[in-house]
């Protein structure tokens, strides 16, 4: 069976340098996270608390969004609702036109990636400059992020040095990380002041106070949201929390789960545009709230847990599949375990349903998820939705579209045999007796493994001589 996903995977598995980059980076991230949680009991307590905070927010999502809008508006932040990515882009376009802006400088925002904003705006002749170092690097190389927290994690220092030298031939070649960072800083600094509009994502929105919280390490987020005279924040509707006291636990578990930092260098709380007498800050702040399939996910009690995600990336860092195939193999904005549950739900099982298969269900993701999203259960549910017949009973986009006659027939036959013990045992006895005649080439399995060896006789046969009670 071949698919676009399989082809990309095959190609990426064959790139030893990229694989080594991921292996090294993820190993480091796993260790750093572990070091942050020396006390297992405390970690589990914090996970339970964080899960509860997010679950509580989602349980009253519509009313919290109303409160949020009212409080943001009262604070002078203009709120816009976008049902689709297209609408989101049009809202941003309209704001830019109103301010006559021909360029924007961007802080990191996965939702803007989800909207395909850079392409959309560049097609209108508007320059979009990524200011997060990782995003800056991949933008130079014309790539998309391969990780939600560390977009350029697939590249190593030497590859980045070469890229900089190729794009900025006037600047002397260096492999020194600090120098490379300084170089990017110098290039970006002027742009912050020149750009009329800055764009950012949002980590948490506080309904009670109408505050936008932004977590970052490089200071570029603060620059993008304060230096230009207009700030546009884009985020998904699920990122709301009820009250200010919900933020500290979430922030603490977010940074520790993501990069193994006890706290990030910057934590911005944006609660209004510049007020009279204030020396800096944008004159206008806009928030674009994107749905893009989220309310559909919200309508299913089992799938709803997907929206608890705080985008820490821990599941990605711990995924044995991701570490081998890398983020670009997924062919989606969000890669790894969170991508494998989110993207098929957003785009439909017919489009990205295969991602739900690309997991051994090993559970490494849910073991670390700070908000306890049961990722393997959701993967299992999506597999079911993909092949189920009673599609009227589910809202999942593309339900039933992955059902094939041959696979359905195989499972039917299997179920028939496994519910008729006489048949089942006759079959297994026959198989073990004539095992010499079984094929030794089992396609995919035997490319790296020898064929499984059937025993001389089955356990059922041997058990007869054990004196076990055959009731």
């Amino acid at each position: 069976m071949s698919s676009e996903f399989r082809n990309t995977v095959r190609a990426n598995l064959a790139k030893p340098e990229v694989r080594a980059n991921f292996y090294r980076a993820m190993d480091g991230l796993m260790t750093r996270r572990l070091d942050q949680f020396p006390d297992k009991v405390e970690l589990e307590r914090l996970r339970t608390q964080s899960m509860a905070i997010r679950a509580n927010a989602l349980s009253k999502l519509p009313e919290l969004l109303e409160t949020l809008e009212a409080n943001l508006t009262r604070n002078g932040i203009q709120v816009h609702w976008a049902e689709t990515a297209e609408q989101g882009n049009q809202i941003v376009q309209a704001i830019l036109e109103r301010h006559n802006a021909k360029s924007i400088i961007k802080g990191k925002s996965m939702v803007s990636e989800e909207m395909g904003m850079n392409h959309f705006l560049e097609a209108l002749g508007i320059e979009c400059l990524e200011s997060d170092l990782g995003e800056f690097i991949i933008q130079l190389d014309g790539e998309t992020p391969s990780h939600i927290i560390m977009p350029a994690i697939h590249k190593n220092r030497v590859q980045i040095a070469k890229l900089f030298h190729e794009k900025f031939p006037d600047i002397p070649y260096t492999e020194d990380v600090d120098e490379l960072t300084q170089m990017a800083r110098r290039i970006l600094r002027d742009k912050f002041y020149a750009a009329p509009v800055g764009l950012s994502g949002v980590n948490f929105m506080v309904a009670e106070t109408g505050t936008l919280c932004l977590v970052e390490n490089e200071g570029n987020g603060r620059m993008s949201t304060t230096a230009p005279s207009v700030h546009i924040a884009v985020t998904g509707i699920e990122k709301v929390v009820e009250s200010l006291s919900d933020v500290p636990p979430l922030l603490s578990i977010l940074t520790r789960s993501a990069t193994g930092q006890p706290i990030t260098t910057y934590f911005n709380m944006i609660s209004s545009p510049r007020k009279p007498g204030e020396k800096d800050g944008p004159e206008a702040v806009h928030l674009v709230l994107l749905d893009n399939g989220r309310s559909n996910i919200y309508s299913d009690p089992e799938l709803l847990a997907t929206l608890r995600c705080i985008r820490c990336g821990a599941c990605i860092n711990h995924c044995p599949v991701y570490v081998r195939i890398g983020g670009h193999s997924y062919g989606t904005v969000y890669p790894g375990p969170i991508g494998s549950i989110l993207e098929p739900q957003k785009a439909g099982l017919d489009v990205h349903g295969e991602l739900a298969q690309a997991s051994t269900l090993c559970g490494a993701c849910s073991e670390v998820c700070p908000v306890r999203i049961p990722i393997p259960s959701i993967l299992n549910r999506l597999r079911y939705d993909g092949v189920r017949k009673d599609t009227a009973n589910t809202n999942t986009v593309g339900s039933g579209k992955r059902r094939t006659l041959s696979e359905a027939a195989t499972w039917k036959t299997w179920a028939w045999a496994a519910t008729h013990p006489t048949i089942y045992h006759a079959g297994s006895t026959l198989a073990t007796r004539f095992k010499g005649m079984l094929p030794t080439n089992l396609g995919a399995w035997t490319t790296v493994r020898s064929a499984p060896k059937l025993a001389e006789s089955t356990l059922h046969q041997q058990a007869k001589h054990l004196g076990v009670d055959h009731e």
């Binding site: 995977v9 939705d385 045999a417 519910t419 490319t447 054990l466």
Partner: protein, 249 residues
């Protein structure tokens, strides 16, 4: 401490039945030697997990229903596999939610034990090592580790064997890439995973690989065999039985 049960049901699993019957035999012998009467319902086939994990819930349910009927007495059900135990303990209640036989499914789930869990937590088994000095690497399956949360039991059993030295390997908690139908549906990724696992285990230079999961053993063992020069691998039950003089008795 609840009284030690004197009778249990044994569920052999389809992989043990066909590929590693010795693991099942040894497990039952260990239980019998500890004074437990073993009932092996002969009509058992498969727990239904392959279909459940593939999304074929109706088929999984009909197979699971046939198994549930085999365990009517209120006694423990012992399974020499973390993954099949996980299926019955964790997923039967989900699979039967809202079904007329939900109560039976939940009852069966509540009585399920993975073998090493039963040996350690319920039987408090005491082992005497009669074997020659040996080094082993342990691979606990993801289901035993995360779904059942019993990964430490196999370690504590091996820890009782005075002549057996456990050697840790890099990325021990990582999945071996089997994942049932995953190995077939995404063979390239599965291959990359198992080959890394083999390398890490080989680097330990141990004499033997021990696990409580025949699926993982088949995967890792198969990959080693393909490369030639395989480290012998064994299910924990068979290993314990052998080390404690079972075969000589």
């Amino acid at each position: 401490m609840p009284p030690t049960p004197d009778t249990i049901y044994f569920f052999g699993t389809c992989l043990v039945d066909l590929m590693y019957p010795q693991a099942g035999v040894s497990a039952m012998q260990l239980l019998q030697r500890a004074g437990v009467k073993v009932i092996f319902p002969p009509a058992q086939t498969c727990c239904g997990q392959p279909a459940w994990n593939s999304g074929y819930r109706d088929e999984a349910r009909s197979v699971a229903r046939a198994q549930i009927a085999l365990f009517p007495k209120p006694i423990p059900i012992v399974i020499p596999s973390g993954s099949c135990a996980g299926m019955m303990k964790v997923h039967y209640p989900e699979l039967f939610a809202g079904q007329p036989d939900e109560a039976q499914a939940v009852d069966v789930a509540s009585r399920v034990y993975e073998l090493t869990e039963f040996l350690v937590d319920v039987l408090h088994i005491e082992l005497q090592d009669l074997g020659e000095p040996l080094t082993v690497a342990v691979h606990t399956s993801c289901s035993a580790r995360r779904e059942m949360g019993v990964a430490d039991k196999i370690e504590s059993l091996l820890g009782q064997l005075s002549n057996v030295q456990r050697v840790e390997h890099a990325r021990k908690p990582e999945c071996c890439g089997f994942g049932g139908t995953f190995a077939v549906k995404e063979p390239e990724i599965s291959a990359a995973m198992v080959l890394d696992k083999v390398t890490h285990i080989r680097n330990t230079g141990v004499d033997r690989l021990i696990s409580q999961e025949c699926g993982c053993l088949m995967n890792i063992g198969g990959a080693m065999a393909k490369q030639g020069d395989a480290i012998p691998h064994q299910h924990i039950a068979e290993f314990l039985w052998e080390r404690t003089g079972g075969n000589a008795a």
